[in-house]
Amino acid sequence: MRCSEARDALWPPELPRLLDPHVQRARNHVRGCPECVRYFAQDRQLLDTCDRLRSLRAPTRVRLRVLDALVSATAEGSGVSRPSESQDRANTRATADGTGGPGRRSGRRVAGGFLALVTLGGIGAMVAGHGLLGSTGPTDSVAEEAFVEDYLRRGVGQDFLDSSDREEIARFLQRELGLSSRLLDAPGLVPARVEICLLEGRRGAMVVYHHEGRTVTHYVVADEGVPRGPRVADDHGELAVITWSSGQVEEALVGELPPGELLALVRVDALDSS
């Protein structure tokens, strides 16, 4: 058997194949052929290198450019769909059923939800005479629904940091958003990740915490509003949402916990810090 035949028979090597006589002959050839051994060793190296390539994510500016173009296309009536309210509820139910929710969402669905979110926010911002992003003027509060939608179906993750180091996360928030937001520090609340996100066209961050085997997400968005204490948002199905604002930073805590428990996390944190 020639080298090219053997390689054709066995490539790609990671693909399961029936051990028919042809494949057996190819394997026998490769075992005794240093050139073919090197060929497959190189292929393995190439795959390993390409794994590094595949870990690269599109930079934020590219994501924003794509989102901006799609939102603009939508604003011009170019057919980007907003999932129906019933679909939103279905997604919420799916989370409650354990068939959806963070970490279990399909990329396509997630992207659609995120786009819908950006679309709504982006169009609103454009109608109001602001750009999609980077508005520096006074801002309205982020609608509670935006936190819920983002929590349920976040689309295009942007810059992120996987870390449980509170100082490192705080530096990330300062660097990326210029926010000197204090992390929640209630007992049992362990940060795991911080990620930049878009909420109604405004750039913010979400800090994911683990709490007694469950996950809660803390949103922070620059704000120029009126300080207000924590309050439980309206019913959002299985999700509880607590929102509050320091006047400079608007915050929300979202999770599949009873509202009282979630509120306690915020209040305990506030007590600890006072």
Partner: protein
């Protein structure tokens, strides 16, 4: 699951970015311009419709079309089907790999992306590139030369790093 073009584009954005980077030989500005071109095509395609997503390789094809429309780069190496590189180092440098991609003809880059990186079958890659099997085989002959050069460069970089005072020692 049904999806729309915008949903599909967003869900594939990272893969498309990686593909654009590979095709452009690691040139971020080129990759960004390529994606911007694709984006323009997509927006035009949407044109007032809620376009259902089609084939899984819809954007991959569109990106390749865009890529081929660009002015062709000068190829600096030939696919001569030389012997497999005798250098098998500790691992390839991604930078070296992308640098070497930059020296390949466009169609060879596309073929290597589809077959070596994306692990598409020859049949599928041929369909996407709209070429027959023999043409694809010709393009894939660049693989050996390409790998040889990447491995040699990687080995050279590793040697240089080791030789540098305070450089890697393992």
């Amino acid at each position: 699951m049904p999806g729309t073009m915008d949903e599909q584009l967003l869900s594939e954005l990272d893969t498309l970015w990686q593909m654009a980077l590979f095709l452009e030989g690691g040139d971020e500005a080129g990759a960004e311009a390529l994606l911007a071109g694709l984006l323009g095509d997509v927006v035009r395609e949407m044109d007032g419709r809620q376009e259902p997503a089609m084939a899984d390789d819809l954007f991959e094809r569109a990106l390749l079309r865009r890529f081929f429309e660009e002015a062709p780069p000068v190829s600096t190496i030939q696919g001569d089907g030389s012997m497999v590189a005798r250098v098998v180092g500790d691992g390839l440098s991604l930078l070296s790999l992308l640098d070497e991609v930059d020296r390949l003809p466009k169609r060879a880059r596309a073929a290597l992306w589809l077959v070596l990186v994306r692990r598409r079958s020859s049949d599928a890659a041929g369909v996407i590139l709209d070429i027959d099997e023999s043409h694809l085989r010709e393009l894939l002959r660049y693989r050996d030369t390409f790998m040889t050069r990447v491995l040699t460069r990687t080995a050279g970089r590793t040697r240089a790093e080791r030789a540098r005072p305070g450089g890697a020692t393992s």
